[in-house]
Symmetry: D2
Subunit: 396 residues, 4 copies
């Protein structure tokens, strides 16, 4: 019976393992698990676990390429960094997970999908709003939010049913995909305390980083990175490569008290080496290729775009409109950026663009100067006229 | 005769030294020089030089405290960083120089002031627009822009008149005040080349920085820093202290291709250690004390404020309006920020505020959690309603 | 027992009359009604009705002056018009009602307040969020939203208990205060249909308006109207006077499909004569007294301010910050505006300001012209430089 | 010799008639006049005059269709109204005139183009910046700005050379194209005076307008009007039709003190009937078809777009980017708007869209209501949470 199928987003952890049984019992439904690889996931191992904890069917999908092409690079072109700090890794993965869930539910004829998010985070909103956009007729079930079990309850529940769970013993709550790793909970909840080294996995502690810098040249084509040091690379490979390289130099740590979508502030730790390098390089290339007015408006759009993504509003007409704007700005964002990675610092040290707006002959103080200095007097006279007028009419 | 006096902003360099003679000859006027200390200036030495090159009178003023109180800290509270890169050192000093010039011209009964800016930079605009606001009846003369002498012409001119000039042999053009040091020209005009170490004076090269980090706690009172590690410090002292400390760790270098006010892009190098540390700490404290809406609007105001400062529009009603907004936002920006300085990196590692909006009991995933997760379902239902509606009415 | 008291916002209509009984029965509480005059309310009549339907105590408060001073004029100065159409009458009254409720509840020692809003409108949110800000410990009860009674159910309920209700037979749902009248429901819910004349009460149909125009001069002092035709008037009187005058000319009708706070669009009819006249006059005076940059930023703040008010966020630090900005902009918004009222049209025909930025000698094409046309060439050369550069470097 | 040709934008008035001779004498050049029809121009009559005053060749071009398609409708879709008052008629024509000039100059091999703008208006900037974008190598000459002749000087100059000029005796300075008519100078320069009826030509005085309203239905296709009352019309015809119809009802007058590009305020009178009707209708259709977030961002873009157009920055990458955004927003702006024209008032009385976001079943207070009121409580709880938190942590 199709009405009896639920597709559950399955990570293999304690929560979703227990959810398989719980959904089966509560809804009398067949559970189809769906595990999605957005980077660093062992699909086959998780698939086996899904079957062991009672899934009728265990689907997997490698969505890394879709993640890069449809979500990460558009966000990079947009300059989308939440609150100027967080390059939005998890937030960019959720709409893709929703898309995979919707497709699987439709293919399987399921009446509902289920996810393992809690009731106080952003991810429940991102997933459910994305589902509302993509498949408004499919019900969304949130067992963790509904059942009210504590961690110990879950373990007892699993034991009673003889479920082969192996609870993670990390004191942190972690999520990761190609674009970054999020860490929260535990002692991180005190924003006065410096995060302990154990919170970090992708990035080396400063003391362990090389004494010599690494220089690299990132090539962008219309706002998207396409090559490193002259070697063309597919998006997934390029990101994996940069995560390793920059993480090895200790680059990519973010420690931020952020405004969640659900009205609270939370302290979050992120590791996001490739994103840090690519955003810095992309911004430096835009400094050469966008006019001042373009840069000003794009900075505001970047803030709006980041909020839309963070707030789970990827699948909206508004996000598409912003994207149309962004794509137009990227027509000439093509060129090379030279970056130095060293001791937790990513520094842009050179940039060049095919259609650069930097004009040596206008900028130089040397002999080649073609700037018409005589024009300055007239310019200042008119430019300063309203200031002069106002200070006379409205002295204070 | 008062009509015969010109007050010249005098730095003691080749340009303004030659200008003393040139103005005297061209305008038949008495030249009063004014030298302003905005940080690291030897007022007495420059005063002596002014008299030697022909000034009738050589005035000096220590304006460091005014710089901090009336310009730097307001800009810090506003979060004013030009194009997200440059904390606006020179741009913040120019209006104060104009204010000092206007006051001196009025006190001396001069008909004009003169400055040594060229015709292609921002500073001519900043000075002249500020003068238009403060003293619209006083003429502004820009000898360097008007006379069309090359550097060699200036040296010849000085020799002919036996002026005791000692031309700097730096290949860079430099300006500095308490808040930062700007470096341009020479090989820096090729934005592909990494700046040479000689361009930097305030900040140590990474290899020469200590292996051990320095931790410090900055205390803010309503958005302005008032103490380091519990010790209250006057603004000038605090900034000097931080410039030394952070510069010693190699912190404070900025390498940016920026949009000048006069319609061109230029590559600028800045060293601004204290400003980098204070902006980072201030922003972290605001993350605790401003609501999400406050933070969003303030980020836009910061961009606008930075543009106003950069564009020479300090003495305008609009800048005052923005300031009224900023001051209102800072009522609760009081607290401590813990910062780690290490290997060219300034990292915020802890923050606490007297009136923090971060609420542990709402944020925690632990037992103390008071967040009402049951509310989430209703929230998502209404929050997602327009997305659901639009995706049904306007499928794509 | 204080725990047994509820303060109910009481309008005297069917809903709140039934609510008195219902709350008494459901909570076993003593009901204190509170009726607030925000314009055109017969407080004594409603007080009597409250006692007849079972209130233990019936409080009344004349809040008209507070409405004008603390809410309407600040919103006028801010230029707050929701979606460029709706001057926010009801939305401005709700936070004041919440303030009165909170004060009464505290004075009476009530554990809760109650209101008669439904579950799909904006007003429930405005009242409850305002209560959360002002008196977070007092519970808010929303009987209409909770009880699920239809209109007929309410009538039956009242009959059973012998409550002396007299249900309005209007086919529209109406709310009004000094600043405007809102009309919704009935045939207005079809946005293709022209609203019938019966929907309008404050404004005459065009055919019934005078053939001769009325001219009037509104005087503003720092952004607030203080006199009409030279006669000083208190705020409440001035608004009542203008509502009559402009309404008599058919001015003040608004027909708008708006975005509600709860995620839906609704079609609303407003009558708001005084607000239309005052906003038009105020804007015309600002055109004389604000610089271009002030006007640009204030237009954006006006949009944000209107959204904050509409969305029930009056009692927030962010609204206060915006207010600090607005007050600063209004320092010189002092002067006279001449307005013509005629055939449903309010037209500004003249404006003059004490500190006007309009300068005849700069603007005129006549002999008195003092504008320096020679400066234009230099201005255009530098102003157009980035356009020239970009069209050469990035031809399309 | 091609170096000896100048293409002069020729309107047939006194200024440009005198300019033919003056340019010939001053530059020893052959003068080719170019007259462009942007609406209501008698091309042949002006062509004859050009030859009579000494043009070597007199070109004409009918650019009405290009005006509508490439400039007016994009600006309409963008909602571009300068300072919320002026629909930008002249400002939209200038870049097209520049385009025609550039094309003619290239076809004729001219070394320069010339225009009749003064040195204190916006139009000189618009034309010269557009030329800098389109044909940076062609010189631009501004005789009126350069020659310093008064009106009487011009008349004397013409008499001396026996030029058949017939000076307009209007006391106003007028410009017009399909989208509107601009009037300035004379007594209009006193912003306190009501404009005299003679200033208006396209719009009837209220007393002379019909007593009966006209209703009409405008159909839009993706944001552009394509039919009136069911009859498809080409853009030029549709605008001409609406100008007559709405002007006959006295609709389209604008009286505004505006911020000019060159730093001064000026009082301008506009008549723009079709633009007023079409902007009102378009905005009403967008109220049905754009989400709240789309509407908010588009309102800001509209302000920016209007500024770009007013400021002569049509041919810029930034304007193109904004256009890409606007086009994306217009995908579903398709439907009908019913408008009533009566006594100088244009009122939207009905609107319907193919893909409307207005949902009767969500909006209605009647039986068909499908809105889930129970969700409101959870929504308000989370929506109000930050307000509650802040008012507790930061009481004032």
């Amino acid at each position: 019976m199709p009405e009896n199928k639920i597709v559950l987003a399955f990570s293999g952890g304690l929560d979703t393992s227990v959810a398989v049984s719980w959904l089966k019992e509560k809804y009398g439904a067949e559970i189809v698990t769906l595990t999605i690889d957005l980077g660093m996931v062992d699909l086959e191992a998780i698939r086996q676990r899904a079957l062991r904890v009672g899934a009728a069917k265990a689907l997997t999908v490698d969505a890394k390429e879709a993640l890069v092409k449809d979500f990460l690079f558009p966000a990079l072109r947009a300059g989308a960094v939440y609150e100027e700090q967080y390059p939005l890794a998890t937030a960019l993965g959720r709409p893709l997970i929703a898309r995979c869930l919707a497709e699987a539910a439709q293919a399987e004829g399921a009446f509902a999908v289920a996810h393992g998010c809690t009731g106080k985070g952003n991810d429940q909103v991102r997933l459910e709003v994305s589902m509302a956009a993509l498949a408004p007729d499919i019900k969304v079930i949130a067992p963790i939010r509904d059942w009210g079990m504590s961690r110990q309850d879950e373990i007892d529940y699993a034991k009673e049913r003889d479920l082969p769970i192996s609870a993670s013993d990390s004191r942190f709550s972690v999520d990761e995909n190609l674009w970054g790793r999020s860490v929260e909970a535990g002692e991180l909840e005190d924003p006065w305390l410096e995060p302990p080294e154990e919170a970090y996995v992708w990035t080396k502690p400063l003391a362990a980083t090389p004494d010599e810098p690494t220089y690299l040249v990132v090539h962008f084509q219309q706002g998207a990175p396409t090559a490193i040091d002259g070697e063309e690379m597919a998006g997934v490979d390029l990101i994996v490569h940069l995560n390793g390289l920059a993480g090895g130099h200790g680059i990519g740590r973010v420690d931020h008290v952020e405004n969640r979508l659900v009205g609270i502030k939370s302290r979050e730790i992120y590791e996001t080496p490739a994103a840090i390098v690519l955003h810095a390089a992309h911004k430096a290339l835009e400094a050469l290729t966008l006019s001042k007015e373009q840069a000003r408006t794009k900075a505001r759009v970047a803030q709006e775009y980041a909020d839309m993504v963070y707030n789970g509003l990827w699948f909206t007409a508004h996000r598409q409109d912003l994207d149309a704007y962004v794509r137009s700005t990227q027509r000439y964002v093509t060129g090379d950026v030279r970056v130095r990675l060293h001791k937790a610092t990513c520094t842009v040290v050179g940039r060049t663009a095919t259609n650069s707006l930097y004009q040596y002959d206008l900028a130089t103080y040397g002999r080649e100067d073609t700037f018409d200095q005589a024009a300055a007097e007239g310019f200042i006279s008119i430019y300063g006229l309203p200031v002069r007028t106002q200070s006379q009419a409205q002295p204070e």
